[in-house]
Subunit: 589 residues, 2 copies
């Protein structure tokens, strides 16, 4: 294999054109096999193999600095920069993260996993170079899908006036995760259709020198253009047309489904579209929405470019028609847009991932909460997890619940969730966020008739004494287990409470607990810092009631298994009971 | 006066062209007098008088919906929509807010004060209309300065594909608060120079129909174009060239200084540039920076378009030269850019207002904290205040201090602040944010030799017993007053502590306090929710130590005087002492 000879980017520079092409084929086989085994980003990596080879052939990394956007297209880069064993050796398949990671290699500049950051980061790298009068190339590689994020557009506007070397490679595969959205894509399309020759050019309007490569999967062509722009003394855009999933027919034909794949997807090619037979929180949500939308034309779903996460299949989107808006990667716009819809009497449902709701704090605060628009926001994948550091779902409660006016709800089962959805959509008083339960569907079998307009009214599930357990959202089941363990191990008949509201305190209930409880424990599936439990602790601060907050620490964990985190944070039933025992013993003293 | 006859936009439609022009002159006089009396946004309002008259002449507000960006240019609109007495009658000068406010009038759609939101909001208004198959015009008025914010660019990209009526008026006065920054402005400039005829057009690249009005301060010309685009069935951009400060020579000549003015500014025209003779936190910061930057070319200041807030005068900026970057209104870019600078060995100082740091949570989390770049971020104007609801400085602690890795410092005086600045700039381990004290300069006279790399190490200022007072940042003085009052009124010799670190708990110190204290109180200048004190309460939760957290409630207050807020939140020395007394009495029971 040619790949045997390639351990660093320098080794590439010794290869002939034929060898480079053979290398690309070898890398494609390696990536297909690896990703089909472990799961991971598929289409983006297959599309960028040739361009990555060309980049490393022309530039001199790590002296020249390559900044990846999202970095879900960095597998070829990792293979070429000393980490090929993570793709060749099945035993090492999990050695490297799926994103750029400076701790792995000096060829990786930043730890990234959110989109639209590369242009600003590359500007900073270039400016640091300029301050010291050093000379090297700074290259940003950004996909067309990432280009519509506000951070990318702010970066592009600033990059244009940097006044020194910066090479922005726009990897245009005419796809975001799903279809692209917005006016910029009309221009990218025009540029593709005119072989880059159209007079009206989004990039040149901003002042960039512009180059177009029609066959971005042709190594020679890419090298030819990159050689031209190398060592430029001003900002340049290289518009690279590539094919997402290049070289794998089924991925080329089904770009959305093959953006990210589960292990074994290729082994069962006919069945790649996610089977939606098992009822889960996604399926009950989409069913609810379709029913509602059919009856009420004011119902509208908004999603910033992550339909797959929510089970918003192409069929679902088609059924909703003009009652579905994909904003593209544009979370800020999505929130402000949805807030305005709500303010005008529409009934918007904004579906967004926890990790990406982080991109829109000020819009939640100013456009939404300050205007008190009755938006329904569904927050998906909230909770502690073994995810990459870039995609943790543990920060949303501290982010959302400290903004005034927003009612943030934590349902614990199907019936409660659907009742909250129904209530939220029909009320007009509050911006409402619902933390969609993360995990298998819990069915209580009892229809929920709670009036959720009694804001901050907690539910007492079982009245006991001495110890009260507040089990929030995903941790309702854990709370029940703890109650049972307290009974069996310590003989305590604890009170079990479902707090329902992440964003507020039921002062009356908490006050009443004082009469026959000495300890209140809170369980929340996220970081404690700024979250739910601390508010309960603060409430009881001046009193004699003790409080223990159980939840995650304020830290970025990186692919740490959940079991390990649960041990670390004392979130197993056993450790919780032990902490309760210790606190009660101290009380007696 | 013509203005006497105008109480609603309908009244305008009866006026002749001459009368409209006279009306503009009258409104200009009224606004100049009012703003020179109360202070407020000056240049933006003078520049938009004619266009506002034209908008209300052509469109039918509030059936047609006008969405203002930032809305610091809404004074003429307020005058024409039933609120002229707030500008004519000095006794009513403070009746209306300086921003659009739906509670004041149906002609105001949203409560806004942050930039770059109008396009997304207008898209939502238009889409709600389309869902119901209604017909009316939706107009967004956005300044060129606001156009570079990520939210605006996301909105523009989505607006282009709305597929129905939307009229975006770009008020191009060739100024942000200070100079404009970025590539988009090169195109706006080209369009102005070519009377809107240049082939290469930023707006048409995105698919917008485009109209140019060269004299945007000419009512007839603006009416002529708006009549053309009225009732359009697709998105349109009207590029309107206006003069900031139009009709007031000194404001036209000094656009930056006259963006917002203090009361009486016009009465002393020669002296409009802010005198910087008195030493304050701004002046010691700029002096520190100039000294540092002269010695070290890696030092660089980044600011997203608010130089005046920080005392970054044109002279200061000129002295720094390439060591100063104004990113324009682009807070997300500013954070990512600064983080990358820090990661590459530069020493960036990012200056930003509390209210606008809200625009960049995800960049603080992902681009900065996750990468642990040693940025120094100076956060200005943090604290409870009588400000407009849109410009509160009370949310930053809950926003910043719950993100892992960021060290958020709260200096209490000049010496401490400068020592923190020095430490932060020279260390390479942590992203550091410093909450620049808000208020008059406190000088201790004792040079600060603290090693701030002992993260979360609090300072015990005076050791006492029974009660410990943790007075954070701006509230250090208040903590001292409380200590004295506890002594004189209750005979308690309390321990006085400066926590220094907003973002963490000194567990060792707090543990030690248990031995001879029964109550710990925390004082913080911001909302309690998600803030500092709750973490202390959570720490002591399982113990017998009582805690009272003093700080603001989670709410948007709108021009509520600080004295009122202090009473409401029990933040006067008297109320604090009383709460302490109550808690101690309960202890005895």
């Amino acid at each position: 294999m040619i790949l045997d000879k390639v351990n660093t980017p320098d080794d590439l520079k010794q290869l002939s054109s034929d060898e480079l092409n053979t290398l690309a084929d070898e890398m494609r086989d390696v990536i297909i096999k690896k990703v089909n085994t472990t799961g991971g980003h598929f289409g983006p990596n297959l599309g960028i193999i040739e361009a990555t080879i060309a980049m490393h052939y022309v530039f001199n990394s790590p002296v020249d600095k390559i900044v990846f956007d999202v970095s879900h297209q960095c597998y070829p880069h990792k293979i070429l920069t000393g980490r090929k064993e993570g793709f060749l050796n099945p035993e090492k398949y999990l050695t490297y993260t799926g994103y750029t990671a400076p701790e792995e290699s000096p060829h990786d500049l930043f730890k990234v996993g959110h989109t639209s950051t590369s242009l600003s980061l590359a500007c900073g790298v270039a400016k640091a170079r300029d301050l010291r009068d050093e000379k090297y190339n700074v290259i940003a590689l950004i996909g067309d899908g990432s280009l519509t994020g506000g951070e990318a557009l702010e970066g592009l506007n600033n990059a244009a006036v940097l006044g020194s070397n910066l090479i922005i490679i726009v990897n245009d595969n005419n796809m975001s995760i799903a279809e692209n959205q917005g006016g910029i894509y009309a221009n990218l399309s025009l540029l593709r259709d005119t072989n880059g020759k159209a007079e009206n050019n989004f990039f040149t309007t901003m002042g960039f020198e512009y180059h177009y490569i029609n066959d971005g999967n042709n190594i020679e062509k890419v090298i030819e253009t990159l050689e031209k722009v190398k060592d430029t003394d001003h900002p340049v855009v290289v518009h690279l047309r590539t094919v997402k999933g290049h070289g794998c027919a089924v991925a080329e034909a089904n770009k959305e489904a093959f953006h990210w794949i589960l292990p074994g997807t290729l082994d069962d090619k006919c069945n790649y579209s996610p089977a939606n037979e098992i009822e889960d929180y996604n399926s009950i949500t989409t069913k609810f929405i379709l029913d509602k939308a059919a009856k009420d034309k004011n119902v509208i779903v908004i999603n910033p470019a992550t339909p797959g996460v929510h089970g918003f299949t192409p069929e679902f989107r088609a059924k909703l028609g003009k009652q579905y808006v994909d904003t593209g990667i544009a979370e800020e716009h999505a929130v402000a847009f949805s807030s305005a819809l709500a303010s005008q009497g529409a009934k918007p449902i904004l579906a967004i991932m926890t990790s990406f709701v982080q991109r829109t704090y000020d819009q939640l605060s100013q456009d939404l909460a300050l205007n008190n628009s009755p938006l329904t926001m569904l927050v998906y994948w909230g909770g502690l997890s073994g995810a990459d550091a870039t995609h943790l779902g543990s920060f949303d409660m501290s982010l959302i619940s400290n903004i005034p006016n927003i009612v943030y709800l934590a349902p614990t089962n199907k019936e409660e969730y659907l009742a909250m959805l129904e209530w939220s959509l029909e009320q007009t008083e509050h911006p409402v966020a619902i933390r969609v339960p993360f995990g298998p569907l819990e069915v209580s079998g009892i229809s929920d008739t709670t009036d959720y307009s009694n804001i901050n009214k907690y539910k007492v599930l079982e009245k006991g004494e001495k110890v009260a357990i507040l089990g929030l959202g995903n941790f309702a089941g854990k709370a029940k287990e703890v109650k049972e363990a307290l009974k069996s191990r310590l003989g305590i008949n604890a009170t079990l409470i479902n707090p329902v509201y992440i964003s507020g305190i039921d002062k009356e209930l908490l006050e009443n607990l004082k009469t026959d409880h000495e300890l209140v424990i809170t369980l929340e599936d996220g970081i404690l810092s700024g979250g739910f439990g601390e508010k309960v602790a603060s409430f009881y601060g001046p009193s004699g009631i003790k409080v223990i907050n159980f939840g995650g620490e304020k830290e970025f964990t990186d692919r740490v298994p959940l079991e390990v985190l649960y041990e670390r944070y004392h979130l197993t039933t056993d450790l919780i009971v032990r902490d309760v025992e210790t606190a009660l013993q101290t009380s007696v003293k």
